[in-house]
């Protein structure tokens, strides 16, 4: 519909959600491909004696380009947190970071001339590959998990989930007043030790083997089987609440896992990139120290 949109072009603002992978019609993907192609061409064209290696003029060129790229890629961590200066949108930077980081794989591999060994030079290369791999996982998790997270939440945020769980705890405590001791103990344990999150392994794996709520539910089924009618009614109430609680806990834990998946890769990506920085420094200095 030609809605008159005279101010539509104001401020050059985008009015569509554009992911960092698609940003500016894959501008940075194209740049990265061009860089990779240029590197490959340079590599093939020059055939130094005795073999292609990092110290030929193409090798030095690729090496310098690679080193500069690594430093610029690491700068992203600072740029991401520099909010006052107007340096363009962060989406553009991330798009460039991802694609140029991938092109670095090509550039650096060609720089090695495929000479590998048990030394600091190959260590730097290896660390770089690990950094890029962890970044690749990062991209994957950024593409996959947001939607899953929204789908799991069904419109309720984490704070609200927590208050619902807390309120269910209160309700359970009241509801369990009239049940037998065993059930009361199970419910008490469930209420006292509601576990959400925890160590990074638990957050990632959604493995809560000691979930008291689950234990309570299991225990209750057993008790319910041999319960008197009055007790059974009280227990039904408790059971319903426990099941609600269980579902909420599952949802919350799943939410935690999705968030953790979107965060965990950075715990590899960042430290490894600093390791890479050190190895890169050592590599460059070593090469010219014993020239």
């Amino acid at each position: 519909m030609t809605v008159t949109d005279p101010v539509g072009a104001l401020r050059g603002r985008r009015s569509r959600h554009e992911s960092f992978l698609i940003y500016a019609r894959f501008r940075y993907l194209k740049i990265a491909c061009a860089a990779a192609v240029v590197s490959i061409v340079l590599y093939l064209v020059d055939s130094p004696y005795p073999s292609r290696y990092g110290g030929s003029w193409v090798g030095y060129t690729l090496g310098s380009a690679g080193a500069f790229l690594i430093l610029w890629l690491m700068w992203f961590g600072y740029r991401k947190r520099s909010y006052l200066k107007n340096q363009g949108n962060l989406v553009a930077w991330l798009s460039a970071h991802v694609y140029l980081g991938l092109s670095l794989l090509v550039i650096a591999t060609l720089h090695t001339g495929f000479h590998f060994g048990w030394n600091i030079h190959t260590l730097a290369y290896g660390l770089m590959c690990l950094v890029i791999a962890s970044g690749g996982f990062g991209v994957f998790s950024y593409v996959r998990y947001p939607r899953l997270m929204t789908g799991n939440r069904l419109g309720i945020g984490m704070p609200e989930m927590l208050s619902r769980i807390a309120s269910l705890n209160d309700q359970l405590r009241t509801a369990a007043m009239n049940v037998d001791d065993r059930t009361a103990r199970l419910v008490e344990r469930a209420v006292e030790t509601t576990l959400l999150g925890g160590s990074f392994w638990r957050q990632l794996s959604v493995y809560y083997p000691n979930c008291a709520t689950a234990a309570a539910l299991a225990g209750i089924s057993e008790i319910q089987a041999n319960a008197t009618p009055e007790l059974a009614m009280a227990m039904r109430q408790v059971r319903v609440l426990l099941e609600d609680q269980g579902q909420l806990l599952t949802r919350a834990r799943q939410d935690i896992q999705y968030k953790a998946m979107m965060d965990i890769w950075l715990y590899f990506h960042v430290p490894l990139s600093f390791a890479l920085l050190a190895a890169l420094l050592a590599h460059v200095i070593a090469v010219f120290y014993l020239w």
Partner: protein
């Protein structure tokens, strides 16, 4: 011997009129003494004339105004002078720009002398709808609360009178005929500008005569699907939603803001209404008689062309609606959550958002450590999330009751709270979306590098722990999003989003968001 006369001078008094009385009293005394006395406002208005380099006396100006501007024909001199005090005079040469498309509107312009042209097509600056002496322009944006929808340039040496919004409103309220006059004038112009820029006024006469301004409340129906009426509506202010009933459900497939027309399909195709049109917010529309409209189309082939072009596009949209493409859900969501009354709202696509909270951190870092944005809170529809952040409403609720008048709208449309906030909390209570909070200033924290390298301080973002809140000093005052109006680059939240999930949209761009279906 000259007879001694006793004059008793009296005037209506009362606290607000003291100055009036003093002035009038002074004038009477001078008049009795035989001195030529000019009214107290004479030098003020003269200053305006001098400033605009106009060689006229105040008296001449008043006469010109009364003679040239039909709106002021029924006003007394005193009233005219009162309005003149609050207005500005401009002398423009051909080619001078008077108002620019996109500016935030605050005033109406009257043409005392000369001629202006309204640029009807931004891509075609030479195509102008001309207005001569006695006409006014700029009232559309004023009344509908949006930005200027057209650029206006002077096409001949002109003398323009600019009256600000509040004064105009007062004028309209005090003189009912003015409202009618403005309406009818505006109707002509809107029809002309919106449909047929080069068509003579006379041709439009028939259309204008049968036109009627109708007011609708939110959710009122302008057009009912299946009905046999064939009026055409030109939306003056507010906005409407167009929906189609399919399979028992109303599927909204379009959102039409002010300045556009709806309902022409039935008129052209002689068919029953194909869609339902409802007001999204309080709307004023000009109802145009279809036969008059048809006559116009016969007489002006270019108009017909344009209308048919629009018609074709709308048929496509209609067909899309029949395919069930879900867009209405988004609009319904916008309506429910009040986004429709926003002029600039932050929208987050949750399929892209990685919950990194960089937007919140950016907001806090650019605003003395307090984030005006709560990313997680706020309603969600499918993957479209509206975080809790000021929407800079068309009619800001917060502005309604601010004792020190600290809340204003900046030229670019941002609603911001100024330094003179006294912390009364009225705005926080009045805001239906909870975007305002009362907060004191947090202490300075170590710089970014010391945090990055050594972990000193909290780092970017707002520290919401109870200990940190306890360390905030000073009295609380109201804080809310100001669209980063003082920051180079615009909204920090959008700039800081790494995945492209956060964008700020104006209502004109809702259609783009709707087309994505809140995916």
């Amino acid at each position: 011997m000259t007879p001694t006369r006793l004059y008793v001078i009296g005037a209506l008094a009362g606290y607000p009129l003291i100055k009036h009385c003093l002035n009038q009293g002074y004038e009477v005394v001078e008049y009795i003494l035989g001195n030529n006395i000019a009214p107290a406002d004479e030098p003020l208005i003269q200053a305006k004339l001098d400033h605009a380099d106009v060689a006229m006396t105040v008296g001449e100006l008043v006469t010109t105004v009364r003679e040239r501007l039909p709106l002021f024909a029924t006003l007394t001199t005193l009233q005219i002078r009162e309005f003149l005090i609050r207005s500005r005079l401009y002398k423009k040469q051909p080619g001078d720009v008077v108002i620019t498309l996109g500016e935030y509107a605050n005033s109406v312009y009257f043409i005392l002398d000369g001629e202006v042209g309204i640029r009807t097509d931004p891509k075609n600056p030479e195509e102008l709808a001309k207005l001569g002496a006695g006409k006014f322009f700029g009232e559309l944006a004023l009344l509908s609360g949006r930005r200027r929808t057209r650029t206006v340039v002077a096409t001949a040496p002109s003398l323009l009178l600019e009256i600000d919004r509040n004064t105009m409103i007062r004028l309209v309220r005090s003189v009912p005929e003015v409202k009618q006059a403005i309406d009818s004038q505006a109707v002509i112009r809107q029809i002309k500008v919106g449909l047929a820029p080069e068509v003579d006024d006379q041709l439009l006469d028939e259309v204008v005569r049968t036109a009627q301004v109708v007011e609708f409340k939110p959710d009122d129906t302008l057009i009912e699907q299946g009905a046999h009426d064939d009026w055409v509506y030109l939306i003056r202010s507010g906005s409407v939603s167009v929906s189609v009933r399919l399979g028992g459900k109303d599927i909204v497939n379009a959102y039409v803001p002010a300045g556009n027309f709806v309902g022409e399909m039935a008129m052209l195709m002689h068919a029953p209404r194909s869609a339902t049109v409802k007001a999204a917010v309080a709307t004023e529309a000009i109802r145009i008689d279809s036969s008059a409209f048809r006559a116009l189309l016969d007489r002006a082939p270019r108009v017909r062309q344009q209308v048919e072009k629009t018609l074709n596009e709308r048929l496509v949209e209609h067909h899309r609606a029949e395919l069930g493409i879900e867009r209405g859900g988004v609009l319904e969501f916008f309506r429910r959550t009040g986004v429709v009354e926003a002029t600039d709202v932050l929208l987050i696509d949750e399929s892209l958002c990685v919950r990194c909270d960089n937007c919140e951190k950016a907001c806090a870092q650019t605003h003395h450590g307090i984030s005006r944005l709560n990313r997680e809170a706020g309603p969600t529809y499918a993957t479209l999330h509206v975080p809790t952040s000021c929407r800079h409403c068309e009619d800001p609720h917060c502005m309604k009751d601010c004792p020190p008048d600290a809340i204003h709208r900046a030229p670019n449309g941002e609603v911001f709270i100024g330094d003179n906030c006294i912390g009364c909390g009225n705005c926080e209570r009045n805001c239906p979306y909870g975007v305002i909070q009362m907060a004191a200033t947090p202490p300075e924290k170590p710089g970014l590098l010391s945090w990055l390298l050594f972990g000193m301080g909290y780092g970017p973002g707002e520290d919401k722990s109870p200990e940190a809140i306890a360390r905030r000093t000073g009295s609380k005052h109201a804080v809310k999003c100001d669209m980063c109006k003082d920051i180079d680059g615009g909204p920090a939240c959008v700039r800081a989003c790494p995945t492209g999930a956060a964008i700020r949209v104006a209502p004109e761009q809702f259609i783009n968001v709707m087309r994505q279906g809140g995916r």
